[in-house]
Symmetry: D2
């Protein structure tokens, strides 16, 4: 299993290399009857497109998506949706130093050990461009979630030491700054920090947060395909992610039961929770409150200062990675995290449809 | 998909409720020719058995495993291995308050929303006893890893505020204290902290760390079935886990590329890394250095102090959970984390066997 | 993948050997809220139980099923249902000739080539007793189909040269003869033919037919998980099956479009078909008419007359298989075919629930 | 699960509609290091291309394949291989009668019942053009099988009443006649029969046979993912197939054990079989002899003579399907059957690599 498929009922299969002719995704299991346009998907892809600011690579790509199947007269037909994005900027580069050496923090070495060879042009399949398929697929999932009135809000919570406290969030400004941060002042501080990184020939890590509202209670499959477990895999599968947490996350290690337990309360016939330390998931199943998910993103491994490494001949060398690279992965990864979350939610919403015999009777009798 | 199966080539299917007749696991995909005994599996189960100290539930269970299939004359045959543990301590309890109300921090409410009914006796399938199947399956996986000279060391890194720094580890004492901590003094401090929790009618969270040595480079399937992504799902699927991280984990958010990148170095013809911030995984594939994994465990939700909640009739009530419960889940969860890691590694080692045409030729020509 | 799991949403995992302690199945993905008793499942197992007539093996087994999980207060809970049947008749046999040689028509040789060793006692996992898990799982599926008013009728259409024409069927007598044939006179002829086989130390093949009524139109997943494709795999996976056909089956090879096409007709607002050459499936999707499925069963390979073969040392030898064996597999396989069909239908009915966005809205909005 | 993916370790995901912009396949799990060219794949596609004779549709398509990923410098890289074929002949047709009515023998009705809408242009996803993805994927699988010295020979055994006896086979002429029959005289008779069908405005069924040589013993996963079961699903999933059989197939129903059992014999240290009634598979596992597989193909449902049917408004109507259609599906389906068999064999060869602990040790120690 080469692992290019994600999901059980709603499943995406992605393909493509950084400097091959194209990248894409096949979305299988999308229900019939959903209005879907190229524009809708393009809007998601535009959120991860390069060249939007000085903090992203200079590579020129329009990343224009084409729908090759599965949509007819504006509606999904239930058959697989094939989405393709052509690579335009395949200028003949000099890859000699990537070809023959192992860049620190990259997967060059591990790909060689696994496959015995690799497409070294721009990282091949390990390039961040691999996420194009995820985002295009995530757009389709998001369209389904929209139909079910489920809403995802995703943003940069922290870049390097600049971290926005939860009580300073202003969601309305997320799309007004290139770092996708929910606070304009913090966004300015983060930008200043990144400027410094660039001048230091260095890069920065950061933190992405995703809030899901409107998720019905009862979704997630015990015991292995829990909602949180599935989200963890979905998000950890994104190249630069080194940690995933739900709700209070790692801070639970020093918490107490009396604090961490969320009391239930009944209001106007509805069961609610007084707090949300659980992050919307209990026993791996959505509990009806907002789902809170965070992903830790490592600093961009491509930095232009010289680094020690080994070449394919096994010699110790020094490498300087040329070209302009994103000093931080986080802003462009925001939509990738959201996409993977959307795909996971959609898949588990579908799986939950067979949890009660009444649901089968509803459809078939 | 009720989600009771984990793994693709090496796969476990677990079943059983806290107060049903038995719990168990079917291990499918175990290679033929491995020596396997009941004693070997029992040793894993004993690590999670209740009643070992004052910090674990008083429930009396020998948790004796029986092999019902798949082993013949002391060797695995390649057919499914069915392992069963009978529940002994099914004393007739008074479940009336669990039956009719939703315990905070538990999955009572979400199970009711999902299935419309639930086995309320001792939590049914949401009980920690569900992990018996994981551990029995993990023992089989560990036996395979042993054959391949891969070693897992798992322990309690922190309980509440008591956290052992990495430079204070002494692996030799892990099994000498009931908290499975790699430092005897910290273990005493943690014990004192837990005593206080008990007298406060409260509970504590904690942190588990797992180190994997001897893992060959090249294992993990890009792009969705990455080694870290698969580990994240495996570990997050354990009931009380709220966060998972690899290598430097969440600390990468404030790190820089120049620090976080591990330089490769060639020594005696071997490619090594000078540091291991990556935690043994690059691009989702093992890089030959030690794999480092951490799981954040929430405080035991069952606490005896009164809590506000809602009953099934939708009324606001107060609940006091009777009986003696583990004030901390961590020590008994150590072997569960190790088991899930072992299963994941085994599965991905198998999946990697088809990554090169030479491997197929080796076996078939 | 050792292949012991069948199904995607409704899935069974079977385990057990002929002379091990027990055999069983874990049924995962059964919806909550279905009344299910041991008696219901036992009735299915009794249809394949040995010792019912002179045409079945003399092995004494009550094949009593025990429910170990997944059912609470008489209803399924949505969690995995573990069903176990203990082997009683494990008398110490002399297996020396099976142990060291390859019985013609059996899987002794292929198991040795695959695994390097095998549990030779009574065929181990290749024994017909392996089907106990299928039938117990099939009983659960059948219970679900009953809730949806879908009915399966399965019977012996032919034994050796004795084949019942479709216009001579009398379903009411199927359970009145030990061969499960829908015509008493043909059943007598078949019995006489089998008597002759026994006295000739030989065995007979036969044909099983399964008719499914009440199946709603629209079930089956294009293009690979078609209803007919899934049924073909389900039924061909039964040990002795060498061919599967749907509707007119192999006779279509010499038919014409003008004959083979079923005309649609509208009657009282319902779309019906004037004929049913398609056997209820068009384009891999149920068309609302009866599904017709047939399976070709090979003669029992265990015959007592001497046969040439090879031993594990690679020497040419002659073998005579002692003990009394079923002279025909067909009657006991009837319920196995029905079980595999029931499991397949249930799984695909579930998969179809996500085919339209309206179905999701029905449940979630 | 929309069912557009086939295989576990070697897996294809196909997509595309008859009159959409393109059709294609993503092949995931192909090992690295295999020489693969566009020409190699094109040769397979050319075997199913329309317009080759008067017995195939007049639609003009070059069916030119493009490799979009997964191949670098002439070798597979282990990453997903995306293959695309553009539709050229998308002339604006008048689909009004297909749009509003249900063609007998086609999936128009069942698609409408399943999805609530359908892409009616040329049958959409139910068109025979769907098999382009299968054949392109099958070419990749065949390239792997070549590396392992496994050979498939596939041909038309019968068209209508014209059936070639096995002792009249001449494989050297298979590609010399447009019907892909292994006997030139029978091919002429079949051609004459088809001429008559055309003049009768009718169509014919037929039989395809596939022989696999060089398959090592031991491949196939008991009990559900048997080699024969997996082949049955693979082949039955092809649109027009109504029956699948292995070895003696349906003729076993009237056979006897003494005839049907294949005696083993030892020759020069090799275990062989004296006969091959089993068709190369025992207990669902390859036995080292040739695998024999047959598929029954129904007559082309599109015939130009008037047929009774129902329109989408529920009215009884008469339909005459215009345009020239293949009077027989068989010749163009030969390479489709071979492709599906090749994919199945490749997948199960891979799955078998974990059947023994020695195989793991071979690769990892």
């Amino acid at each position: 299993m080469a692992g290019s498929t994600f999901g059980t009922l709603f499943r995406i299969t992605t393909w493509g290399e950084s400097h091959g002719p194209a990248l894409g995704v096949v979305v299988d299991g999308c229900p019939a009857g959903i209005p879907l346009t190229t524009d809708y998907i393009q809007a998601f892809l535009d959120r991860r497109k390069p060249g939007q600011s000085k903090f992203t690579t200079a590579r020129r790509e329009s990343d224009t998506v084409e729908i090759l199947s599965g949509v007819f007269e504006g509606y999904t037909t239930g058959t697989p949706i094939s989405l393709v994005v052509r690579n335009n900027d395949q200028r003949s580069h000099d890859y000699s130093n990537i070809k023959d050496c192992y860049r620190p923090g990259h997967a060059d070495y591990t790909f060689d050990k696994k496959y015995g060879l690799r497409d070294y042009r721009g990282g091949g399949r390990t390039s961040g461009r691999e996420t194009i398929g995820r985002v295009a697929g995530g757009a389709v999932a998001s369209r389904i979630l929209e139909c079910l009135r489920i809403k995802l809000t995703t943003y940069t919570k922290a870049i390097g030491p600049v971290s926005i406290p939860s009580d300073a969030y202003d969601y309305s400004v997320i799309n007004e700054n290139r770092l996708y941060m929910p606070n304009s002042e913090y966004a300015q501080q983060a930008a200043a920090y990144l400027e410094q990184c660039i001048s230091d020939q260095d890069s920065s890590g950061g933190l992405i947060e995703c809030i899901i509202e409107g998720m019905p209670a009862g979704v997630g499959e015990p015991v292995f395909d829990k909602l949180d477990a599935s989200l963890a895999k979905a998000v950890m599968s994104i190249g630069a992610v080194k940690g995933v947490e739900i709700g209070d996350g790692f801070s639970v290690t020093s918490s107490k039961g009396s604090i961490n337990n969320d009391s239930f309360i009944s209001e106007n016939g509805q069961v609610l929770k007084q707090t949300n330390h659980s992050g919307g998931i209990l026993g791996g199943i959505s509990d009806g409150s907002s789902i809170i998910l965070r992903a830790a993103i490592k600093p961009t491994p491509s930095i232009s200062q010289p680094q020690k490494t080994v070449n394919t001949a096994g010699e110790n060398i020094e490498i300087a990675i040329s070209g302009r690279h994103d000093p931080v992965i986080v802003p462009r990864a925001v939509v990738v995290v959201e996409s993977m979350a959307a795909i996971t939610l959609t898949d588990l919403l579908m799986q939950n449809m067979t949890s009660r015999i009444e649901y089968l009777k509803n459809i078939y009798l």
